[in-house]
């Protein structure tokens, strides 16, 4: 119960950061003291917030727009994907030191070699769109994981749709 209140009262960036798979590079101070001292949240000190260009900061700012999804065997960027990629591009243009990897993935319903090639296509489709929006190519790299790193574990259409994706992640320095 106590934890729930804490989570609600924390700044939105921190709360989002806590949801991510990747642990933040800078661990926030234990929040209990803050909550006990005053019922209204004090501003989070700058030193404990995720650094711009870090994975947790990026993922928090994207709120899901770090991933775009594809149809079976396809790699075209549709209007929904374009909106997400525009958000990614804005971030990368704002934080000019940030470098990113675009990871391409395929669902398990493909043969291994083809899925590696398909993941490469998807990662490059996302990367090329970011470059078209002005993100310097030198700050972007791609990697294909084929079907090797699924995000959803089930063997059904919903899971496969979630796994046909390109995910942009920050390269931590």
């Amino acid at each position: 119960m106590n934890r729930l209140i804490i989570a609600v009262t924390l700044s939105s960036a921190l709360a989002l950061g806590a949801c991510k798979k990747e642990p933040p590079t800078v661990t926030p101070d234990a929040p209990q003291d803050t909550v006990r001292s005053t019922p209204t949240p004090t501003p989070t000190p700058m030193a404990t917030a995720p650094q711009p260009g870090s994975q947790s900061h990026f993922a928090g700012a994207m709120a899901g727009a770090d991933t775009i999804y594809f149809d079976t065997d396809r790699y075209n960027v549709d209007s929904e994907d374009q909106a997400a990629l525009r958000r990614q591009a804005q971030y990368l243009l704002q934080y000019t030191d940030a470098r990113a990897t675009v990871e391409g993935h395929a669902d398990e319903r493909g043969t291994r070699d083809y899925n590696l090639a398909l993941g490469e296509r998807r990662a490059n489709a996302a990367k090329n769109y970011l470059v078209s929006l002005g993100v310097p190519e030198s700050r972007l790299r791609t990697v294909s994981y084929g079907e090797e790193r699924p995000a959803a574990m089930a063997s059904n259409e919903q899971a496969w749709a979630r796994n046909r994706r390109a995910v942009t992640v920050m390269i931590e320095r």
């Binding site: 070699d113 990697v143 084929g146």
Partner: protein
């Protein structure tokens, strides 16, 4: 900008082999036992009468033959480095391996040594016919094992026709004690070849990917084993994902994909030295390695700017890679015809994966698969008459067709069966099967009739099998 990316690519290339060496390859690998060692053929005991010649042509007839495989005898029971109990116990083990080879592959109706009387050493060349005639054995396998003064073993293998009371074939081999199982496989090959008229295949090895862990954190390690699953070894420790191994035709190297530097790249692992090198010095991802039948070339697929094409490079290293396909579609994989003149590969230039053939220099590309569904991961039979492939028709099945893309026959009907690889004699296909939801994988094999399907026994989950040729 360009200089920076070029520089980082160079750093990766320089760092990769060293990192692979120290981080990922198992240090305790014994290269000597992995590399092929010579098995010397010798003349075996017995009189000098030539073997009786007969011809067996009907497939169904030979499959039903009853074969008694008796414990191998020894001239003198003595311990060897092959086992602690001595050559008498080793003789029993040899016969068990011959029996398992034939039984697990659904060949003949073999009866093993544990259910049979043990022949004496003199009886190996002079069978006790009355004993065997009463056991509904039409064929009889005898053998012996002898410890030599130089520490090696001599193993003899004899096949008799019980009704005719005559010898059909015999052979003998001198092997190092650590390779005693190879003598048993050679004996099984001798029996199989003599009775079926087919080429041998038991004395061969398989490279594959051993899988452990949950679906969202699967550990995939390069591993090798004999054709019967014995002498299993892990080559990588699982810190980085390994995929799609292929033995070189002489078994001296394994080409495989590893994420050891964070990117998918093909490495050529030298079994003798334990060292590995990148298949090509490029910052681009490379995958789907394949050897030419003569071992002189390696095919690989490389994505440049997201577009995957097939390339060929000298296996000896050096030289400029030759690009064989140039289209904007995905061209991937590739498998040589046995004479090395043609390559079957897959492409989605028609909108979905289909199978194509080209000359080995990339010329004369043409689609061969025009049936329903998709054609993926084609593999040319070592006999040349068939191409195995993954037939995607909703579910994934293993199927074969002729090199013209006709006479398609479906051999399996799992939920997801893929990645066919041929036995050296082109009569059996191994593949891997993925279970729905759990993602668990296992290696299976099926013969060309589709009737005899069985799962291989592996220590953990298994995928991406690659069957090598008969050992040199």
């Amino acid at each position: 900008m360009k200089t920076a990316s070029l520089f980082s690519a160079l750093v990766l290339l320089i760092a990769a082999p060293a990192a692979a060496q120290s981080d990922d390859l198992l240090p305790d690998l014994d290269p000597g036992a992995v590399g092929a060692q010579d098995v010397e053929e010798v003349a075996v005991e017995g009189d000098d009468d030539g073997p009786l010649r007969g011809t067996v042509t009907d497939d169904s007839a030979w499959q039903d033959l009853g074969i008694a495989i008796a414990s191998f005898a020894t001239n003198r029971d003595q311990s060897t480095p092959a086992n602690a109990q001595g050559t008498a116990a080793l003789g029993l083990e040899l016969a068990r391996v011959v029996y398992s080879d034939l039984r697990f592959n659904g060949l003949f109706r073999p009866v093993g040594p544990d259910a049979l009387p043990r022949p004496s050493y003199p009886q190996i060349t002079d069978p006790a016919w009355n004993t065997w005639r009463g056991r509904s054995a039409e064929m009889l396998v005898h053998g012996y094992v002898r410890a030599n003064d130089d520490g090696r073993l001599t193993v003899g293998c004899y096949l008799y026709d019980v009704a005719l009371q005559s010898e059909l074939v015999r052979e003998g081999w001198v092997v190092n004690p650590s390779e005693w199982r190879r003598a048993a496989h050679k004996c099984a090959d001798l029996v199989y070849s003599r009775l079926s008229g087919e080429d041998p295949f038991f004395d061969s090895r398989i490279a594959y990917i051993a899988e452990t862990g949950p679906k969202d954190n699967r550990i995939k390690r390069l591993a090798i084993m004999d054709s019967d699953g014995a002498n299993h070894r892990f080559i990588t420790n699982g810190q980085s994902t390994a995929l799609t191994p292929r033995y070189s035709p002489d078994y001296s190297k394994i080409a495989y994909l590893s994420y050891v530097d964070g990117n998918p790249r093909i490495y050529v692992y030298d079994i003798g030295s334990g060292r590995q090198t990148l298949v090509t010095q490029s910052a681009n991802p490379t995958f789907a390695p394949r050897w030419s039948p003569d071992g002189r070339y390696i095919l690989y697929s490389m994505a440049v700017g997201g577009n995957t094409d097939i390339y060929r490079v000298s296996a000896a290293g050096g030289g400029t890679p030759q690009r064989l396909t140039t289209g904007p579609a995905i061209e991937v994989g590739g498998s040589y015809s046995p004479d090395g003149s043609q390559i079957v590969f897959e492409s989605d230039q028609s909108g979905a994966q289909q199978c194509y053939i080209m000359n080995s220099d990339g010329s004369n590309q043409r689609r061969i698969s025009f049936f329903g569904g998709r054609c993926a991961s084609p593999e040319w039979s070592p006999r040349g008459d068939q191409i195995a492939f993954t037939h995607i028709v909703g579910d994934f099945h293993i199927a074969v067709m002729n090199p013209q893309g006709r006479n398609v026959r479906t051999l399996t009907n799992g939920w997801q069966d893929e990645g066919p690889t041929w036995a050296p004699n082109g009569r059996i296909i191994q593949f891997f099967r993925t279970e729905r939801n759990s993602g668990d994988t296992s290696i299976w094999q099926v013969d060309l009739t589709g009737d005899n399907e069985r799962r291989l026994r592996t220590p953990v989950g298994a995928s991406d099998p690659a069957w090598g040729p008969v050992l040199p």
